[in-house]
């Protein structure tokens, strides 16, 4: 446990000792700020119109602002997480620092979990900045708290999946660019896998829908926590980290 913390802390600090953390955080906040501002402005305008013509009825702030905001955040993490994870093992291999990790009295599992939590830590820092958006919404309107909480919960789970995927590809190569590109491509593949569902047979359609990373997010976005969805994400993370373990272990044998 202590070892996981030691490794996670070093990697986490290392993000801030290089430009990575600053670039990723700045990019993230710029895009999110843009989306929030115009999403909110659009909602206000649309709602004014809507109320005029529908006499009193209105779109809820949850449907109009919160759902699209967190849905988009999910997509942005798909783009940004590869930049966070690509270095985790690739760089250690390139710099030979992996020899320090692997000849220290710690297990491979501890090393992998340390890396996983360091990246997740950076994601949490990024997420913590976004708390201002619900605060603004509470100050100006009366949104439901449920969907906000579950959205965060879902986002953390889904980004943890991207992180697991990123660590796996980082363990496979010394080249950070390749690791990042493969992470993004595979993450995207698991996003759009459900598109094939509509044209697949009934059984395959179910399977494909179930495999889709984005499909399991929709419940969380609505304020619903389903154990099936959480289980899917946790399995995804578990399999990703397990495969990383296999890859690193076999790399020693070669």
């Amino acid at each position: 446990m202590m070892n996981i913390f030691t490794i996670a802390r070093r990697d986490f600090r290392s993000y801030f000792n290089s430009p990575v953390a600053y670039i990723v955080i700045t990019g993230f906040l710029a895009i999110m700020g843009y989306m929030f501002y115009f999403g909110f402005a659009h909602y206000v305008a649309q709602n004014a119109q809507y109320q005029q013509f529908n006499m009193g009825k209105s779109i809820s702030i949850t449907d109009g602002v919160i759902k699209p905001l967190y849905g988009n955040m999910n997509l942005i993490f798909l783009f940004l997480v590869p930049f966070i994870t690509m270095r985790l093992f690739a760089e250690e291999k390139k710099l030979h620092t992996i020899e320090l990790l692997m000849t220290s009295p710690v297990t491979l599992t501890e090393i992998i979990l340390g890396k996983f939590f360091s990246a997740l830590g950076l994601v949490l820092v990024m997420l913590s900045f976004t708390i201002v958006y619900p605060i603004i919404l509470f100050a100006t309107g009366n949104p439901e708290i449920g969907p906000i909480v579950t959205s965060y919960f879902g986002i953390i789970l889904v980004t943890a999946c991207y992180v697991a995927l990123g660590i796996l590809f980082s363990a496979m190569t010394e080249n950070q660019i390749i690791a990042g590109a493969l992470t993004f491509a595979t993450g995207l593949f698991f996003w759009i896998i459900s598109w094939a569902a509509s044209s697949a047979g009934p059984v395959w359609s179910d399977v494909l829908m179930h495999l889709s990373l984005i499909d399991h997010y929709s419940n969380f976005g609505q304020g619903i926590v389903s154990t099936t969805d959480a289980f899917y994400y946790l399995s995804f993370i578990g399999i990703g980290l397990f495969l990383t373990h296999r890859v690193l272990d076999s790399f020693r044998w070669r």
């Binding site: 070093r10 290392s14 030979h96 620092t97 020899e99």
Partner: protein, 313 residues
Amino acid sequence: MIQVTHLTKMYGPRVAVNDLNFEVKKGEIVGFLGPNGAGKSTTMKILTGFMPATQGQAVVDGHDVFENPIEVKRNVGFLPENPPVYPEMQVFDYLEFAARMRQVPKGSVSASVKGIIDKTGLGEVQHRLIGNLSKGFRQRVGLAQALVHNPKVLILDEPTVGLDPKQIIEIRELIKNLGNDHTVILSSHILPEVTATCQRIIIINKGAIVAEDTIERLTTRLNKGLIYNLMVKNPAAEGIAALRKIQGISNITPAGPKLIIEMTPGGQEIRDKIIETAVQKSMGVLEFSAERVSLEEIFLQLTTTENATGDQI
């Protein structure tokens, strides 16, 4: 402390280490000597549990490297060929990290790091980024991380590479002093290095041990007999003939004023006699010296001609 039996490592079809057997006792400093690609680094990586062997066994401090790697790693400090340092970290923070990874108890991390910074002379750079340090200092940081947890066994892969002559002497001195309560294996291609620090050397070539002994015994074992050089004012034929008669001399080759006198191997001490005879024949002795077969020669002999003639020592 370290027992290696029938150790073999293959990289795919290529044999890097072939049926290695050796033992290192507690407190010994052993030099691993061999040309490029001999398998020194490979053997060290196996001993430290970085990678498994294809076959054979390695035991460090009573723990099998394959069955009980964590226990082995606890007792071993390893300096790999490339110092495993993070360029974006400061020296002090890095060593603190290394200490924690090596399970130094929480309360003594800071003291251990300070101690090792003193020992390896890193004081003046301790708050600089490792990436900005010179090669020699980076090497020292690598050495410091191997020592920070005061391990029983030290495995150092070419520890003085990239250091300046003054630093080399300091680091050799440091390693020598470590030998008192640590067991050390170090690798090198540089023979004076091994002569200066090690009590015993293991010469490997193409993955196999070609010689293993103390430095003195290796020298005598390989010697075709000692050679003395006698410089005289008057290398007259009469004098040379008289010298030739001395028992224990197998050959004399005059080279101007210098007489190269070869002894029969295992002969008695006859230096007195040689001088006496030379003085008697009024040859005018200027200089008398023993020519030592250097380790370089041993090394070359073992790793080159050895294979050609096929004779084992």
